[in-house]
C-alpha cells in the first residue's frame, strides 16, 4: 500500500515536473537569457490554453491547434517586445521596478480580458485519451498527464538544438553573454532579442496546451504558476535549458510527495519554499554559473 502510493506519487511528480518545465521554458529564455523579468509569461500560457480550448471546441486536436497558434503567438511576442523595448531599453538602463510593474499590469489585463470574454467558468478540452492510463506494474500513468509531460522534453530538446546549432540561436546565446560584442560583430542585438522574445511567447501556447490537457483552466490559473515557473528557472540556474527539466521534476516530485503524504492543501507552498531556499542558499541555482 505504502509502496504503491509512493511509486505513483513519484510517477505523478515526474510528469507534473516535466509540465512545469514546459511552463517555465519561455521564462528561461526571457529571464534567463535576456534578463527580462517577464512575470506576465504565466498569463500568456493561460491565454494559450484558452486559444487551444476554443480551437478544440470546433473539434480540432489540442496539439494541432497549439502548433498552428505558434505563429500568431510568435508575432504577438515580437510586438510586445517592441513595445517594451521602446519604453525602457532605449532610455538606457532598463528600470527593473518599472519593467516589473509593466508586466504585472499586462498580466492583469490579459487575465481580466479572458475573464470578461469567457466568464469565470473553467475551460477544458475533449480528447480521446483523457481518462485512460498506461499501467506498468504498480505504476499507473494517466494519459492526460503523460501526453503533456512528453511535450516538455521535446520542446526543450528542439530549442537546445536551435540555440547551439543555428546561426540565430548562437546569436541569442551571444546576446545573453555580451550585447555590445554582438553589435560590434555586425548583428543587431535588438533584432535578436525580439526574435528570442517571440520564441519565448510561442512556447507559451504549447505550454498552454499541456496545461489544459492536464485539467480545466480558469483565467487566474497563471497566478499559482508564477511561483512555480520562477522557482524552476531560478533553481535550474539562469538560462540553463537542461537544468530547467531537472529543476521542474525536482519541484514536481516534492509537490506530489507532499500532496500524497501530508495534505494537498500544502502543495502550493512547496514550490515557493524551494524558491526561497534557493535564493537564500544557492542563488546561482543547480546548473547555473555564479555571476
Amino acid at each position: 500500500m505504502f509502496l504503491d502510493q509512493f511509486v505513483n506519487a513519484i510517477g505523478t511528480g515526474v510528469m507534473l515536473g516535466s509540465i512545469y518545465a514546459a511552463l517555465a521554458l519561455g521564462l528561461a529564455v526571457t529571464f534567463g537569457l535576456l534578463h527580462i523579468p517577464n512575470i506576465a509569461h504565466p498569463a500568456f500560457v493561460v491565454a494559450g490554453a484558452y486559444v487551444v480550448a476554443v480551437g478544440n471546441s470546433y473539434g480540432f486536436d489540442p496539439l494541432l491547434v497549439a502548433v498552428v497558434a505558434l505563429v500568431p503567438f510568435y508575432v504577438a511576442g515580437l510586438a510586445f517586445y517592441e513595445f517594451y523595448a521602446r519604453l525602457f531599453e532605449r532610455r538606457g538602463a532598463a528600470d527593473t521596478m518599472n519593467a516589473l510593474t509593466l508586466f504585472f499590469g499586462v498580466s492583469l489585463v490579459v487575465e481580466t480580458a479572458l475573464l470578461m470574454k469567457f466568464g469565470t467558468n473553467q475551460q477544458s478540452v475533449n480528447v480521446a485519451y483523457v481518462g485512460q492510463s498506461l499501467v506498468i506494474g504498480l505504476l499507473s500513468l494517466p494519459y492526460r498527464l503523460l501526453v503533456p509531460a512528453l511535450l516538455a522534453p521535446v520542446m526543450i530538446g528542439l530549442l537546445w538544438v536551435y540555440l547551439h546549432f543555428t546561426h540565430a540561436g548562437i546569436a541569442i546565446r551571444a546576446v545573453a553573454h555580451d550585447e555590445r560584442a554582438l553589435s560590434v560583430s555586425g548583428i543587431d542585438p535588438r533584432w535578436i532579442k525580439r526574435h528570442a522574445f517571440g520564441i519565448a511567447a510561442a512556447t507559451a501556447v504549447i505550454a498552454g496546451a499541456a496545461l489544459i490537457i492536464v485539467g480545466p483552466v480558469d483565467p487566474f490559473g497563471g497566478r499559482l504558476m508564477i511561483g512555480r515557473a520562477f522557482a524552476v528557472v531560478v533553481l535550474a540556474g539562469m538560462g540553463s535549458l537542461p537544468g530547467t527539466i531537472a529543476a521542474g521534476i525536482l519541484i514536481g516530485v516534492s509537490e506530489s510527495l507532499v500532496a500524497a503524504f501530508a495534505s494537498p492543501s500544502w502543495a502550493p507552498a512547496v514550490a515557493f519554499s524551494i524558491l526561497l531556499a534557493t535564493l537564500a542558499l544557492r542563488p546561482a541555482g543547480l546548473f547555473g554559473v555564479r555571476r
Binding site: 529571464f31 523579468p37 512575470i39 519604453l87 538602463a93 528600470d95 527593473t96 521596478m97 518599472n98 516589473l100 510593474t101 509593466l102 504585472f104 499590469g105 499586462v106 492583469l108 489585463v109 481580466t112 480580458a113 475573464l115 470578461m116 487566474f220 497566478r223 499559482l224 508564477i226 511561483g227 520562477f230 531560478v234 495534505s263 492543501s265 500544502w266 502550493p268 507552498a269 515557493f272 519554499s273 524558491l275 526561497l276 535564493l279 537564500a280 542563488p283
Partner: protein, 336 residues
C-alpha cells in the same frame, strides 16, 4: 562596465534636492496632521449616514497601505508584490487576538506591527543575497506561503473564513464603523508622519542611495545591510498595522479577500500613480484611485474595475514613471 555605469548614475546630481529646513515645515505638517484627525472626529459627530464611514475607511486604509508600501518600494526601490502578505499577517494577528483573548483594538495594533516588522526582517534576511527581480519574486512567494498557512489553520477558520464580534466601541464615537474609521485615520496619519520623517532624515538619504545603486552605496560606506532590513521592517510594520482593524470593521475575515489581488495591486498602483518619490504621492494616488474605485464598484463591475486599474497602471509606467507629482515637476520646469 556595469559597476562603472551604476556609480555614474548614483553620482549624477539629483535634479530635485531642495535644502530642507525641517523646523517650520515640520510644525506645519504636525498642525495639518492634527487638523485631519480633528476633522475626522468632527465628521463622526456630525454625519449621520454610516455609509460615508464605510467608504471613507476603505480610502483611508488605501492611504496607509500605499504609504507603507512606498517606504520600501518608493524610497528604497525594492518592489514588493506581497503587500498582502503583511496586510494579511496583521489582519489575522488581530483576528487571533480577538478570538483568543477578546483583545482591544489598541492591543491588536502594536501586536500586528510587531508581527509585520518581524516578517519584514525575515523577508529581508532571506533575500539579502539577491537584489531587484529576485526580491520581487520572493515577495510573491511570501503571499502564497502565508495564504497556504492560513488555509491550513483550522483555528483561524481555514478557507471559509470566520466571523467574530468586535467588543463595544467607546460611547463617544457614535458606533463601531465611526470608531474603526477614526482608528484607521490615526494609523494613516502615523504612517504618513513616519514616511515623512524617513524622507527628511539620514535614513531617507540612505534609502535613496540604495535605490540609485546598492554597489555604489556600499562602496561609499552606506550601511546597506542595516538600511535594507530596516526598510523591510518599517514597511512591513505599517502594512500589518493597516490590516489589523479589518476584523473590527467587517466582523468577518477570509483568506481570499485578505490575500487577494485587488489589495496587492492597489498598494503598487497608488504610489505609482501619485508619485513614489515623496510622501504626498501615495496620498494623492490613494485618494484618487480609492474614490474612483468606490464609485466604480457601485456603478460598474469589479472585473472592469481591475482592468481599468491595470490599464491606468501600464499607462503611468509607460508615460509618467514618476506619477502625478513627477508630471507636475516636469511641467514646472518646462515653464521656467
Amino acid at each position: 562596465m556595469t559597476a562603472k555605469a551604476s556609480v555614474m548614475t548614483a553620482a549624477s546630481p539629483r535634479p530635485r534636492a531642495p535644502a530642507r529646513l525641517p523646523g517650520n515645515r515640520t510644525l506645519l505638517f504636525t498642525l495639518g496632521a492634527l487638523a485631519v484627525l480633528a476633522l475626522g472626529g468632527v465628521m463622526t459627530q456630525t454625519l449621520a449616514n454610516p455609509y460615508v464611514f464605510f467608504a471613507a475607511f476603505v480610502i483611508v486604509q488605501s492611504v496607509a497601505l500605499a504609504t507603507g508600501w512606498n517606504v520600501l518600494g518608493g524610497y528604497a526601490g525594492y518592489i514588493n508584490f506581497g503587500a498582502t502578505a503583511f496586510y494579511g499577517a496583521g489582519a489575522y494577528t488581530a483576528a487571533f487576538l480577538l478570538k483568543a483573548f477578546d483583545a482591544s483594538i489598541f492591543l491588536c495594533l502594536p501586536a500586528a506591527a510587531l508581527v509585520g516588522g518581524g516578517l519584514g526582517l525575515m523577508m529581508g534576511y532571506m533575500t539579502l543575497r539577491v537584489q531587484g527581480v529576485y526580491f520581487a519574486i520572493g515577495t510573491i512567494a511570501l503571499v502564497v506561503m502565508a495564504h497556504t498557512l492560513v488555509l491550513n489553520i483550522d483555528y483561524l477558520g481555514g478557507a471559509s473564513g470566520m466571523a467574530l464580534m468586535a467588543p463595544e466601541p467607546p460611547a463617544w464615537t457614535g458606533g463601531q464603523v465611526q470608531f474603526v474609521f477614526l482608528v484607521m485615520l490615526g494609523i494613516a496619519v502615523l504612517a504618513v508622519a513616519c514616511a515623512r520623517w524617513i524622507e527628511i532624515s539620514w535614513v531617507g538619504r540612505g534609502f535613496r542611495a540604495l535605490r540609485a545603486s546598492e554597489e555604489a552605496a556600499e562602496c561609499a560606506g552606506v550601511p546597506t545591510f542595516k538600511l535594507k532590513l530596516s526598510a523591510c521592517a518599517i514597511s512591513g510594520a505599517i502594512l500589518a498595522m493597516t490590516g489589523a482593524p479589518l476584523i473590527f470593521y467587517a466582523s468577518f475575515i477570509e483568506p481570499e479577500t485578505v490575500f487577494g489581488l485587488a489589495l496587492a495591486l492597489n498598494a503598487i498602483a497608488m504610489p505609482l500613480i501619485g508619485g513614489k518619490r515623496s510622501w504626498p504621492g501615495p496620498i494623492i494616488g490613494a485618494v484618487l484611485l480609492g474614490s474612483v474605485q468606490q464609485a466604480a464598484t457601485i456603478t460598474i463591475s469589479s472585473e472592469l474595475n481591475i482592468l481599468l486599474v491595470g490599464v491606468v497602471l501600464i499607462g503611468f509606467v509607460a508615460a509618467a514613471p514618476d506619477g502625478i507629482l513627477g508630471l507636475i515637476d516636469t511641467l514646472r520646469k518646462g515653464r521656467r
